[in-house]
């Protein structure tokens, strides 16, 4: 059977008095891609950001229930430590505008004041860029600004930046929604390749994307987890009527 990396148990999350995530329980398995799907406003982003506690940047939020990374409850450790183990890629590429490509990749170490030997740094940068399928395109201009790259390249740079921290899990929040179809294809095949290194949780609006790249799919509706299971099964024989309606385009 699959080995479990993340266990979400009876988890709810509130913005003030509004419940955005309603009592969700699900497991995330190692070296798999788990897609979170659902209509706009159903709480996908909220759930994803709860996993690395980025929601705490928003004032007046509250959670109940548990999320365990292996056997550690994530709220029992410092968010700073947690976020180094659970990386994140955002909807819009957000490389650091003041930094070169090289420094962007190594930014997690640099900004945290973790000192590395030059040779080690070089290795991490090359390795991360290779994993992010960007090395060939940028190896001759590592010291140019990251913001000179195209949108798709910038997004892969952000993937490399997250991978450089050697995270257990990589969270991706609609990573292709700001990209053109070609760049999207690149990111999708990248996600497939990355599975051997890291467990991924992917929020997507795009059903065919979920079908293409994910092993497991969670379908959220109005903050509730309607259905969760293997992607193939869910797309062919959904159990819940709402899932079926969503997949056939009746709403969303």
């Amino acid at each position: 059977m699959e080995s479990r990396v993340l266990e979400i148990k009876d988890f709810s999350m509130y913005y003030g008095d509004t419940k955005a995530v309603d009592n969700i329980s699900m497991d995330v398995y190692k070296n798999k891609v788990t897609a979170i799907m659902g209509p706009s406003g159903c709480g996908k982003t909220t759930l994803l950001r709860s996993i690395n506690r980025m929601h705490e940047l928003v004032a007046d939020t509250r959670t109940t229930g548990e999320i365990r990374l292996y056997d550690t409850e994530i709220h029992s450790i410092s968010p700073i430590v947690l976020r180094r183990k659970i990386g994140m890629v955002f909807q819009r590429p957000n490389p650091f505008p003041t930094m070169s490509i090289y420094d962007n990749v190594i930014a997690g170490y640099k900004l945290n004041g973790i000192r590395l030997k030059r040779a080690d740094r070089d290795i991490i940068v090359e390795d991360s860029l290779k994993k992010a399928a960007l090395w060939e395109e940028v190896k001759d201009k590592l010291h140019r600004k990251g913001t000179f790259l195209s949108g798709g390249q910038q997004q892969r740079l952000c993937v490399a930046r997250a991978l450089a921290m050697k995270p257990e899990i990589l969270l991706l929040d609609e990573p292709t929604s700001a990209l053109d179809p070609k760049a999207t294809t690149k990111i999708e095949s990248l996600i497939e390749e990355l599975k051997i290194y890291v467990t991924m949780v992917l929020v997507t609006h795009n059903m065919s994307q979920a079908a293409r790249v994910s092993d497991y799919t969670a379908f959220l509706f109005l903050g509730e987890l309607v259905e969760y299971g293997q992607t193939q099964k869910m797309f062919t024989t959904p159990e819940d009527k709402r899932t079926e309606e969503y997949l056939t385009g009746k709403f969303g």
Binding site: M54, L57, N94, F96, L111, T147, A162
Partner: protein, 308 residues
């Protein structure tokens, strides 16, 4: 969904209305003719207004240049003032004094102002931010002479001596609001996603601010500081009872210190023709300095601007 239908029908109504209006517009040629005339009239008048408003500046520049240029030579920058009646001499003490006082004001107001600006942009909606913003607004409106009196009461009197230091405090208070506002506005333009990128790498909040947010907004902050410097460089009133002026060279910040503005004030109000000439020279120097600072500020704003 229900509301979508409503929105759709509303939009259709709006479009139809616009179409009707446009039709009555399009058929009328006279309308278009007058519209063009109004456009031309409007454009000419705003161009005229802007030319009128820069005329005084040009006249001032020209006049000061004409009067002051003869006073300026090498000695003007490196020599000390001579007693009345003696030819030659310079204003090196005033130049050095001005720069020392500006330096001290900046050392005081830059950290304070940038810190406050960070607070205001980070806690935009807090009660304290509201109060601070209000006070900054008021501070900006306090007449410069009042700043001088305050510095006199709080610094000169307790220390028992006029000093460059007390002058710097008065000017620092005048620089402060400029720097605070500029920092706040600049930081507000930094996209939230940048902070998130840093936080998601496990970078603590304070390091995120210091190492990601501040470097990305450095051009705006430096521009603000330069504009602040340009603003205080020629201030006289706050220095009258603080730095006081000094005919000799003085590098001790706890002693009376000369400044360009004080020298201009003292020399221009004296009865001596020679001193008037030097006052014009000092004015020219001061204006050129302020102009230059502004140009550098513009350059920094453009050149160092970070593209997101």
């Amino acid at each position: 969904m229900g509301y979508q239908k409503d929105v759709k029908s509303l939009m259709e109504k709006e479009i139809n209305k616009n179409l009707e209006n446009n039709q009555s517009f399009i058929v009328n040629d006279k309308h278009i003719f007058f519209r063009k005339i109004y456009n031309i009239l409007f454009k000419t008048s705003i161009i005229l207004f802007s030319i009128i408003s820069i005329i005084p500046l040009f006249l001032i520049l020209f006049y000061v240049l004409q009067k002051g240029i003869t006073a300026i030579d090498w000695d003007f920058f490196v020599k000390l003032p001579k007693p009345v009646g003696v030819e030659g001499g310079g204003i090196s003490n005033a130049i050095i004094g001005t720069f020392l006082i500006i330096l001290m004001s900046s050392l005081m107001s830059v950290p304070l102002g940038v810190g406050t600006g960070i607070f205001l942009s980070e806690y935009q909606n807090s009660k304290l931010a509201y109060v601070v913003r209000l006070f900054v607004e008021v501070l900006q409106g306090v007449p410069s002479i009042v700043m001088g009196i305050i510095a006199y009461l709080w610094v000169v009197r307790p220390m028992g001596i006029f000093s460059g230091f007390s002058g710097a405090i008065a000017l620092g208070m005048m620089m402060l609001p400029v720097i605070i506002k500029n920092t706040e506005e600049t930081l507000k333009l930094i996209p939230h996603s940048l902070k998130e990128a840093s936080m998601s790498l496990g970078v603590p909040y304070y390091k995120t601010i210091l190492k990601v947010v501040l470097p990305s907004s450095i051009s705006g902050i430096v521009t603000g500081v330069l504009i602040g410097i340009a603003r205080i460089a020629g201030e006289t009133a706050p220095l009258l009872f603080t730095a006081f002026g000094n005919p000799f060279m003085n590098l001790n910040i706890f002693k009376p210190m000369n400044s360009l503005s004080l020298l201009i004030f003292n020399y221009a109000t004296s009865p001596y023709q020679d001193w008037h000439r030097i006052a014009w020279g000092a004015s020219l120097f001061l204006i050129v300095f302020v102009l230059f600072t502004n140009l550098v500020a513009n350059g920094v704003a453009k050149k160092w601007k970070v593209e997101f």
